[in-house]
Amino acid sequence: MIKRKLILIMENKPGALVRVVGLFHQRGYNIETLHVDSVKDFSVYKDIEKKLETKFEDNQISRLTIETMVSDDLMRQILRQLNKLIDVIAVSNEETTYLKGVLLDENLL
C-alpha cells in the first residue's frame, strides 16, 4: 500500500462533498488528506468542456484533492465508485481519468 493522490472535479451542489466523504467511510477506505477548492481558472479544463459539450461557469465547479493509502486493486474500485456519484464530473489518479462514466487513459485533471 502506498499513498496515492486522487483528483476530482464535481458540481458545486449542496451535499456533493458529503457524498464523496461518505463513500470513503461506507466502503472502508481511509482519507489521509482532503483539500477542496472552488475552481476559478477553467482554462485547464478545456478538454473536459469540449468532451462534455458544456461551459463551466463561476461557482459551478469544485475541485477535490484526496490522498489515500490503498492497493492498486482498491484504487481502481475507488475510482469506479466515485465515478458513479451523480455529481462527480471527472475523477482521476495519476494514469487514468473517469470522465462522466467513460474511462480515459490519461490524466485530464
Partner: protein, 568 residues
C-alpha cells in the same frame, strides 16, 4: 402533482403528515393519479418496489418528515440493494426551521444517503418540475435505484406560485450511464465463447432490469450453454428449458454450483458475484475465464476479476454478441460442448432436487414446505406473480416454483428484508388486478408488515397468502442447528403465535388452516377458488426441515451440504 402526472405516474403509495399536507391537499383536488394509503411507511416503499419489479416502471412513494421518512428507510434500502427504480418524496419542515430541531425534523438526505442512488432537496419551488424530471431519469437509467426528493413544507405552499412547464428531457452533464458497448469488447467476448468447452451462462437481476430475456434466449439458441440464474435473476431464462440448471449459490442446485465450479467460461450477465454466489472468492471457479456484461463499471472485477468486460445495457450487449457470433458461425460447433452437457446430466441425476415430494399425499409424514410450493405451482399453472419474504420459505419458493417469465418472482435478494412480501404483493396486484398474486411467507416475516392486511381490504386486493408455518425463525434455527450445536437461541416463540385465521378474519379476509398432509392439496385448491377474496392460508409444516443444498462456509462452490449429515 402536475409534474408527477406529466412524468406518467399513475399510482403513488403513501402516508400523510404535517410536512406533506400541502401535497396531500393537491392530491385531493385532482383525479389523475391514484394514491394508496398504506398502514406503515415501510409498507409504502415495499409496495412501490413490488409494483416496480413487476412492471419495470418506477415506484413512487410519498411520506411526511421525521418518523414518516425514517419509517421509509428500510424499504429504500431494500430497493437500493436490488437496484429497483423508485422515487421517494419526503416532506420536510419549512425552510426557515431546518437545522433548529423543529418538530418532526430529520435530516432525511443525510439518513438516506448510503441507501440511495441520488437525492435532491428543493430550495426553490420553481425547481420542482426540473428536479422531478431528473429524479425519474436517474432512478430508471443506468443501474437503476431509489432517489429521494426532500421538499420543505413552504415549497409546496399553495401561495407559492410560479410559471409551470415540464422539461422534455433531463440533461445531467455529470451523469452518463453506458448504453451501447464497444465493438472490441464484443469481439473479445465472442472469441472467448468460440473456444469454450465448458461454458456457463450466469444471469442475474441486471438482466431483468434491462429486459433482456429475448436477447438472452436468442443468443443461447446459438451457444447452447447451460444457464443458471441468481435469486434475483429467476425467470430471465425459462425454468422449464432443458438447458436451465436452476438457481446457483448458497442454496443453489447441485448441478448449477458444480457447473460454475468446473466451467472454463462464465458469461456473467447483470450479476455481481455477491458473497451468496461465490462462497470463498479465492476458491471460486478456478479454471474459468470470466466475460462480464454489466451497465455498472464498479460491479465488474470487484469480487472476481473479469477477463473480458462489456459495459453497456446488457440487452444491447447480448444482441451485439449474437450478431457478431452469427458471422463466425463456421468456426463454432456447439457439439464440442456435448461432453459438458453429459457431465451436467450426470450431476443432476446424482443430487438434483427431488421434484416428486408433493406426490405423496398420505399422512405418513408431516407437511413438507417444498410440497406446499409445488402444489401452489401446479394450481397456478406456474403463471402467478410470487412475492416472498426472507427465510427457508423464500428458498423453497425459489427452488420449487419454476418461473418461465421474468418479473414474476419478487423478493428482497440483496437486503433480505423480512416484511417485504405482503406489501410487495399489494403493489403487484394493483399493477395486474386480473393476475394471480401469491405471497409465500413465513409466520415470522408476515408479522413484520401484517398491518397491511387492512390496506388490502380498503382497496380490495385478493392476494393469496401462503404462510409456511414452521413455528420458528426457521432459517435462523437452521444455522443454529448447523453451526451452533443446535442451540436455538431466540428462534422460537414458545406458543405465542397469533391465531392467523382469526387475525385474517378480523381484517375482513378469509382464513384456512391446514395441518395434515392429506388436506394440503384440497385446502390450497379451496383457497385459490375464492377468486375475489384475500385468503390467508396458514400451513403447519415439518419444523425440522432444512434447506439443501447449502454451501459449506468458506469452501468453494462444489462444497455443499446435501442433507443434515451428508457433504459433497
Amino acid at each position: 402533482m402536475q409534474a408527477l402526472h406529466d412524468e406518467g405516474v399513475e399510482l403513488i403509495f403513501g402516508y400523510p403528515g404535517g410536512a406533506a399536507l400541502h401535497i396531500y391537499d393537491a392530491i385531493f383536488r385532482q383525479d389523475k393519479i391514484d394514491h394508496i394509503l398504506v398502514r406503515h411507511e415501510q409498507g409504502a416503499t415495499h409496495a412501490a418496489d413490488g409494483y416496480s419489479r413487476a412492471t419495470g416502471k418506477p415506484g413512487v412513494v410519498l411520506v411526511t418528515s421525521g418518523p414518516g421518512a425514517t419509517n421509509a428507510i428500510t424499504g429504500i434500502a431494500t430497493a437500493f440493494m436490488d437496484s429497483i427504480p423508485m422515487v421517494v418524496i419526503s416532506g420536510q419542515v419549512a425552510s426557515h426551521l431546518i437545522g433548529t430541531d423543529a418538530f418532526q425534523e430529520t435530516d432525511m438526505i443525510g439518513v438516506s444517503r448510503p441507501v440511495v442512488k441520488h437525492s435532491y432537496t428543493v430550495f426553490n419551488a420553481e425547481e420542482i418540475p426540473k428536479i422531478i424530471k431528473e429524479a425519474f431519469y436517474v432512478a430508471t437509467s443506468g443501474r437503476p435505484g431509489p432517489v429521494v426528493i426532500d421538499i420543505p413544507k413552504d415549497m409546496t405552499a399553495p401561495d407559492n406560485l410560479f410559471d409551470y412547464s415540464y422539461p422534455e428531457e433531463a440533461i445531467i452533464r455529470s451523469y452518463n450511464p453506458p448504453i451501447q458497448p464497444e465493438q472490441d469488447q464484443i469481439d473479445r467476448a465472442v472469441e472467448a465463447i468460440l473456444i469454450a468447452k465448458k461454458p456457463v451462462i450466469y444471469a442475474g437481476g441486471g438482466a431483468i432490469a434491462s429486459n433482456a430475456e429475448k436477447e438472452l434466449f436468442e443468443l443461447n439458441k446459438i451457444i447452447d450453454a447451460p444457464v443458471t440464474n441468481t435469486l434475483m435473476g429467476l425467470g430471465i431464462y425459462p425454468a422449464s428449458h432443458h438447458r436451465f440448471l436452476g438457481m446457483l449459490g448458497m442454496h443453489g442446485t447441485y448441478q448449477a454450483n458444480m457447473a460454475m465450479h468446473n466451467a472454463d467460461l462464465i458469461i456473467a450477465i447483470g450479476a455481481r458475484f455477491d458473497d451468496r454466489i461465490t462462497n470463498k472468492p479465492s476458491k471460486f471457479a478456478p479454471n474459468a475465464k470470466v466475460v462480464h456484461l454489466d451497465v455498472d463499471h464498479s460491479s465488474v472485477s470487484k469480487i472476481i476479476e473479469a477477463n473480458v468486460a462489456v459495459f453497456g445495457q446488457v440487452k444491447n450487449s447480448l444482441k451485439l454478441i449474437k450478431d457478431t457470433l452469427e458471422k463466425k458461425l463456421d468456426s463454432y460447433n456447439s457439439a464440442t460442448i456435448q461432453p459438458w452437457h453429459e457431465q451436467i446430466k450426470e450431476w443432476k441425476s446424482q443430487h438434483g432436487l427431488n421434484y416428486d415430494l408433493y406426490k405423496d399425499q398420505s399422512d405418513s409424514h408431516p407437511i413438507l414446505p417444498q410440497a406446499v410450493v409445488q402444489h401452489v405451482h401446479e394450481i397456478t399453472n406456474g403463471e402467478a406473480y410470487v412475492t416472498s419474504d426472507v427465510g427457508q420459505h423464500q428458498m423453497f419458493a425459489a427452488q420449487y416454483y419454476h418461473f418461465d417469465k421474468p418479473r414474476r418472482w419478487i423478493n428482497s435478494g440483496g437486503l433480505g428484508t423480512m416484511g417485504f412480501g405482503l406489501p410487495a404483493a399489494m403493489g403487484v396486484k394493483l399493477a395486474f388486478p386480473k393476475d394471480e398474486v401469491v405471497c409465500i411467507t413465513g409466520e415470522g416475516s408476515i408479522q413484520m408488515c401484517i398491518q397491511e392486511l387492512s390496506t388490502c381490504l380498503q382497496y380490495n386486493l385478493p392476494i393469496k397468502i401462503i404462510n409456511i408455518n414452521n413455528e420458528a425463525l426457521g432459517m435462523v434455527k437452521q444455522w443454529q442447528d448447523m453451526n451452533y450445536g443446535g442451540r436455538h437461541s431466540e428462534s422460537t416463540y414458545q406458543n405465542s403465535l397469533p391465531d392467523f385465521i382469526k387475525l385474517a378474519e378480523s381484517y375482513g379476509h378469509e382464513g384456512i388452516k391446514i395441518e395434515k398432509n392429506s388436506e394440503l392439496k384440497d385446502g390450497l385448491k379451496k383457497a385459490f377458488a375464492m377468486k375475489d377474496k384475500l385468503v390467508f392460508v396458514d400451513i403447519y409444516v415439518d419444523p425440522s426441515e432444512h434447506v439443501y443444498p447449502m454451501q459449506v462456509a468458506n469452501g468453494s462452490l462444489e462444497n455443499m451440504w446435501l442433507s443434515k449429515d451428508k457433504q459433497t
